[in-house]
Amino acid sequence: MHVVIIGAGLVGSSVAGWLIAAGHEIAVIDRDADRCAAMENELGSVTVTGDGTEGEVLARAGAARAEAVIATSGSDADNMVACQLARRQFNVALTAGLVKSDDHARLFNLLGIDAPINIVELITRRIQEALPIEGVVRLMDIPGSNSSVMVTIRVLPGSAAVGRRVRDLTLPVGTLISLVIGRDGTAAIPNENTALSPEDHVVAVTNIDDLDRLRDTLT
């Protein structure tokens, strides 16, 4: 398929290389002629020098026959405009855009941008996963709800929850424990008699306002 990428920076270059290796046709748009030249040295003549938030430049990059447009510039505003132009002016089926703030990620969703990629959130999540401390890792915001999140919480060895059954835990109202992953990696759907062990990872759906209480219960 043909994919238009906006931005020849680190993310744009990496995605471009991956798509070419997978056999797809790409065009990469960047305002900076030097960055375009550097990319052409690596990947061949795949670049268009210009502003990816202008219809004429998107047209030159073949947006009209593109199946996806991926906006990877450093500006939330530019990524938003590029995705909206791609959809409205060129009927591109899939639009994806990098976004750096939660406010803007929410707006991208409302605007129908298919894949808003919240890079700050992604990086924060990887750091949370990498750090060997207790805490809550947010897996996803539940679609269609303003306040429900899916999280995973590690049961600490000294926690009062160790050895207790699910029904004996004082969980915030509306909290659902959906999966318990043991230290050996086996995942089980818990029932009310399931007892928690140290180092279990508990996957739960809860209200965002109850996150701290849920963590206190389990860690």
Partner: protein, 150 residues
């Protein structure tokens, strides 16, 4: 609670937020104030806010707000929830489109106006329900009209 006192607001007067206090934003704020409207002007740069006309500022008709118009928290601080008209007048088309759509989608502002100079973007956002104004377009139209008049 609102930061702003509307007790003396005349009938027909509008509560307006202008984001961007460059040449356009500053002049626009002055004219809106002159026409009896109540204006808050937001900019990240204090020096830009200092270009606002001092009279209406000291009378409280124009309120400068130091802040980032692309931040939800800062827009709330400027009481965006009780605004009648929202104008995005920074020097960047993309920023204006972003800010105006935040007003439209996150805060349900009825009328969002934004300065968009590039033609394909202007067409896009007019189609999406924003009032898009091209400063360069208006200037060239005015010049063409003046040329014909001679």
């Amino acid at each position: 609670m609102t930061l702003f006192d509307y007790s003396s607001l005349a009938p027909g007067a509008k509560r307006v937020i202008v984001v961007g206090c460059g040449g356009l934003g500053s002049v626009l704020a002055g004219e809106l104030a002159e026409a009896g409207h109540r204006v808050r002007v937001m900019d990240r740069d204090r020096a830009a806010l200092d270009t606002l006309p001092p009279g209406p500022v000291s009378d409280g008709v124009i309120t400068p707000v130091l802040g980032d118009g692309t931040s939800e928290a800062d827009l709330l601080r400027a009481s965006i929830r009780d605004v009648d008209l929202f104008i995005a007048a920074t020097g960047s088309d993309s920023t204006n489109a972003l800010v105006a759509q935040m007003a439209q989608y996150l805060f349900d502002v009825q009328t969002a106006v934004c300065r968009i100079d590039e033609p394909s973007r202007k067409l896009l956002y007019e189609g999406l329900g924003l009032v898009a104004i091209s400063a360069t377009g208006l200037a060239s139209e005015a010049i063409m009209t003046a040329t014909k008049g001679e």
